[in-house]
């Protein structure tokens, strides 16, 4: 199949279209604007809907409405915009509605900056909004995965009836790489018998709702949802293992940071240090098994993040703190150089875990 050069943001948009998404609602924000621009160009020609909402608050609720009506719907934004969507995402989780939400992260907090960042890890993996819930958080690290994982995201959302987030960053969104626009085989999807698209007089009314005033019933609905989450954790975690077979020092990194970490792993190996990389493709569910296994052979871990130590908590949890976990952090839009990661590897290899 022909490979084309494409920006990560554009690959996300084209992949969504390949996955059957015809409804996109968004609000402009740097550095994700190409997603919206691409959709505004393509969707009208496909009989779909591109709608620029008055805010991220509105756009996520339009996604909610379209999803409730049974179609594959999507929005994309960047960090401050995702904060505004948190209410709507919580409602969608409570209503068990599928949707795909793209976060091309920028530096924060507050208005922050417009350069790439990974500082929304906690937001994506702990809880995007209020209440007990998770979203599935996928982390591509190249334009090809921007395409492939976006398609998977729609399937996961439909299968588990939950919002799925693509957690990218400004580098992945803006960079161009060759991509094969291949259609990922669609998984077996459950029938959508719960949608609110009109009864046609043939069934009782469906209700999409997150209000459950009886605490016993609300608790039970959470229990049920967490049973599903357990299933997701058992069967959907994904992780790339890069030179980990004989690794003494195992780096943990996702997204753009994982690419730079690969340079550092090679540089370390050239110096005789056995370094490797575990790269989660799913941040929630975190690929705990890969990390637990690595804890048996590795001497130490290094969490390489463009944030002040967020994923490191998951690394520690997954390895049950059996081995030291050091942090190699840049933030605010600053990106690691391979050399500074290498320096950290050398330092950790020398027994300095700070």
């Amino acid at each position: 199949m022909e490979r084309v050069l494409m920006k990560g943001n554009e690959a996300i948009a084209e992949a969504a279209i390949m996955a059957g998404c015809r409804h996109f609602f968004g609000y402009p924000i740097t550095p994700q604007t190409e997603v919206a621009a691409y959709m505004s160009k393509r969707l009208p020609k496909l009989g779909g809907v591109y709608l620029q909402a008055e805010s991220e608050v509105a756009s996520i609720n339009m996604v909610l409405g379209a999803s409730a009506a049974g179609v594959r719907a999507m929005t994309s934004s960047s960090s401050p915009g995702i904060s505004l969507m948190s209410e709507g995402i919580s409602y969608m989780a409570g209503c068990d509605l599928p949707a795909v939400i793209v976060n091309i992260q920028r530096g924060g907090p507050g208005l922050g900056g417009i350069q790439p960042s990974q500082a929304d890890y906690f937001q994506a993996t702990r809880s995007v909004g209020h209440g007990d819930f998770h979203v599935i958080a996928l982390s591509p690290n190249c334009v090809q995965e921007m395409s492939d994982l976006t398609q998977s995201a729609f399937d996961l959302a439909d299968i588990y009836r939950c919002p799925v987030m693509i957690l990218g960053d400004g580098i992945l969104g803006q960079m161009m790489e060759p991509v094969e626009l291949r259609r990922i085989p669609e998984r077996e999807l459950p029938a959508k018998d719960w949608i609110t698209s009109g009864t046609a007089g043939k069934r009782g009314h469906n209700i999409v709702n997150s209000l459950i005033l009886k605490p016993e019933a609300l608790e039970q609905s959470n229990f049920d949802r967490f049973d599903r989450y357990k299933l997701i954790e058992e069967s959907e975690a994904l992780c790339e293992e890069y030179m980990t077979d004989d690794a003494d020092i195992v780096l943990a990194a996702y997204g753009a940071a994982s690419r730079i970490s690969k340079n550092a792993v090679l540089a370390a190996r050239a110096r005789g240090i056995k370094a490797g990389l575990l790269r989660p493709l799913t941040l929630w569910p975190f690929p705990k098994k890969n990390f637990a296994a690595a804890a048996a052979y590795a001497q130490a871990f290094i969490s390489v993040e463009m944030s002040m130590g967020q994923m490191i908590e998951d690394v520690k949890l997954a390895t049950e703190c059996k081995k030291p976990v050091a942090l190699c952090a840049r933030t605010g839009g600053m990106v690691h150089s391979p050399d500074e990661i290498l320096a950290k590897i050398i330092s950790v290899n020398g027994g300095n875990y700070n």
Partner: protein, 246 residues
């Protein structure tokens, strides 16, 4: 022979509304309109946050419960996904004119082909009687205990007047349900709004001046009197926009 029965679009359940509240009448008017226009099977209603939050249990059509103020955005999503659907929101004054003002204005600006049923009783009901964006100057509420002081709390928002200025608004009418005559006029307005949507016209809104005996601290009868004496003069009834008649 039955001479008066429950509209088919209205579910056979008891509502939770307070005695003397006008929500019940308004629900019935919507249900009658859906029955008469034979729309229930392809209608999706959006319930607000506020007293009518559980409206999803009261209508036989498909229903969605929206976050506070977001009903017009949710309705937009449904309508854009399935344009053949008839989509209505049911919103109170806090939901529509305060926290959801942006969603309301922009739905109108876009001319979304939805119907908004706006229940204006000048107070936040469900949370226990706080000042609303439509509370009258001088009106005493839990959070305007000395009366709404426009110097600090600002002026009430006249929603129909505001939306009538927007090109996307196809139909805007303010009605009330305080008298039999007004109930009949309200019924016509609600039916007209749905009819316009069924014809593919732009946004239609029916603002219904209503009571809140519980939080106004008045009997149902006195509430109707207070409405007639205080609210209707401030919020004149009538058609503010009807592009179908222009």
């Amino acid at each position: 022979m039955t001479v008066f029965e429950r509209p088919k679009a209205l579910s056979d359940v008891a509502t939770h509304y307070c005695p003397g509240c006008t929500h019940g009448i308004i629900h019935r008017l919507i249900a009658e309109a859906l029955d008469e226009l034979d729309l229930t099977g392809r209608t999706v209603g959006i319930a607000p946050v506020g007293c009518a939050v559980m409206a999803y249990d009261y209508f036989e059509c498909d229903m969605i419960q929206a976050a506070h103020g977001r009903a017009p955005a949710v309705a937009t999503g449904v309508k854009r996904a399935i344009p053949e659907n008839i989509v209505f929101t049911y919103q109170g004054d806090g939901d529509l004119a305060a926290i959801g003002a942006a969603e309301t204005l922009h739905a109108a600006a876009r001319g979304e082909k939805i119907t908004i049923i706006f229940v204006n009783n000048a107070i936040y009901g469900m949370t226990g009687g706080q000042m609303a964006p439509t509370s009258l100057p001088g009106q005493i509420t839990q959070t305007s205990p000395y009366g709404r002081d426009v110097e600090s709390a600002g002026y009430p928002i006249k929603v129909c007047e505001l939306l009538a200025t927007m090109n996307g608004t196809f139909y805007a009418e303010r009605v009330s349900v305080n008298t039999v005559k007004n109930v009949r006029a309200a019924k016509n307005a609600v039916k007209k709004a749905f009819d316009y949507q069924n014809q593919g016209k732009g946004l239609s809104i029916v603002e219904i001046i209503s009571t809140c005996p519980t939080n106004w601290g008045l009997s149902p009868q006195k509430s109707l009197d207070w409405l007639a004496q205080n609210m209707i003069p401030y919020y004149p009834l009538g058609v503010y926009r009807d592009r179908g008649a222009e």
